[in-house]
Symmetry: C2
Subunit: 153 residues, 2 copies
C-alpha cells in the first residue's frame, strides 16, 4: 500500500481511528496506563522509521520499570508526574522533555491527584525492554535506597 | 561524548538550554515562525536517530511551502491553524496528528488570531526540502486554484 498523507483528528487526547490499547500484554509491573500509537505502525505509514505514541497514566498508576538499548524522546503534554531516571527521582511538569539514553532505567509515575500524559517517540524497529526479575536485580539497577523504595516492580 | 539521560525543563513552551532559533537561514517564503530543536541534534544525543522539534507560528505567519522525501510526524500542542496538505486545505486543532508522507506538498498557517504551535518529528539525517521556484511550478504542485491562492511562496 502506498503511503498517503493524512490527518488524525483529535477529540481532546483521543484520536479518530486510533484505538486505546492495553499498555502491554504482560500483567504485572504497571498500573493504570493506556497507550495510543498515533503514527508509525500501520501499513500505509511505511516511510516512517519513527513511532509516535501517547501514554496516559491514571492517578496512582505507573509504567513498568525497564531499560533497553533504544533511546526514548518524551514530551509531557498533560498534567504532571514523577519519574525514575537512572538513579534519580525527578519531577515532571507540562512540556518537560526527557531524553532517556540507551540502557537508562526508567519508570513514569502519576503520583499526584491527576492524569499524567506524555508523547513518547521511538525507533519503529527496536529491542525489547528488560525488566528486573528480582529484588536483587533491582538493587543492582538502582543503588539509591530511597529511589529504590519508590520503584514498583 | 557518551550519551546521558536528561530532562529539559519547560517554562511553558520555552525550554531551559534550548535556544529559540530562526526557522531557516533563507529569507523568503515564510513569516513569523520560530524553531526549537528539543532533542536529536546535539553530541550527547548520539543514539537518537530522531529529531523532535517545536515550531511556533505567530498569528498571520506561515511556514515555507515545501516537499521532500523524508516524512513528517506532526502533533499540534498549541492553538489552532490551517495547513496545505497536498491538494487540500485542512483545519488543525489541538492534538490533531498529521502524517506528511514523502513528497507531499505542505505549508502550515497560523491564520487565526492566535499563536499556533506543533511538535514535528523527523529522521535525524534527511534530504533537504524543495520549494517551488516560480508560479508555474506552484501550478504543477497544486492543481486546485483555491488552495493555490491560499499558498504563500
Amino acid at each position: 500500500m502506498a503511503d498517503q498523507s493524512k490527518i488524525i483528528r483529535s477529540g481532546g487526547l483521543t484520536w479518530s481511528d486510533i484505538p486505546r490499547k492495553y499498555y502491554k500484554n504482560s500483567t504485572t509491573g504497571f498500573k493504570g496506563i493506556a497507550r495510543w500509537v498515533l503514527l508509525g505502525e500501520r501499513d500505509d505509514e511505511q516511510a516512517l522509521n519513527i513511532q509516535t505514541r501517547y501514554f496516559e497514566i491514571a492517578a496512582g498508576g505507573y509504567s513498568s520499570l525497564e531499560r533497553h538499548h533504544h533511546p526514548h524522546t518524551v514530551v509531557v503534554i498533560r498534567g504532571r508526574g514523577r519519574m525514575i531516571l537512572g538513579n534519580q527521582l525527578e519531577e515532571l511538569n507540562l512540556f518537560d522533555t526527557i531524553y532517556i539514553a540507551p540502557k537508562t532505567i526508567h519508570q513514569f509515575h502519576a503520583d499526584g491527584a491527576e492524569v499524567f500524559g506524555f508523547i513518547c517517540i521511538v525507533d519503529r524497529y527496536r529491542d525489547r525492554p528488560e525488566v528486573p526479575d528480582s529484588p536483587e536485580t533491582l538493587e543492582k539497577w538502582i543503588s539509591d535506597p530511597e529511589v529504590r523504595r519508590f520503584a514498583k516492580i
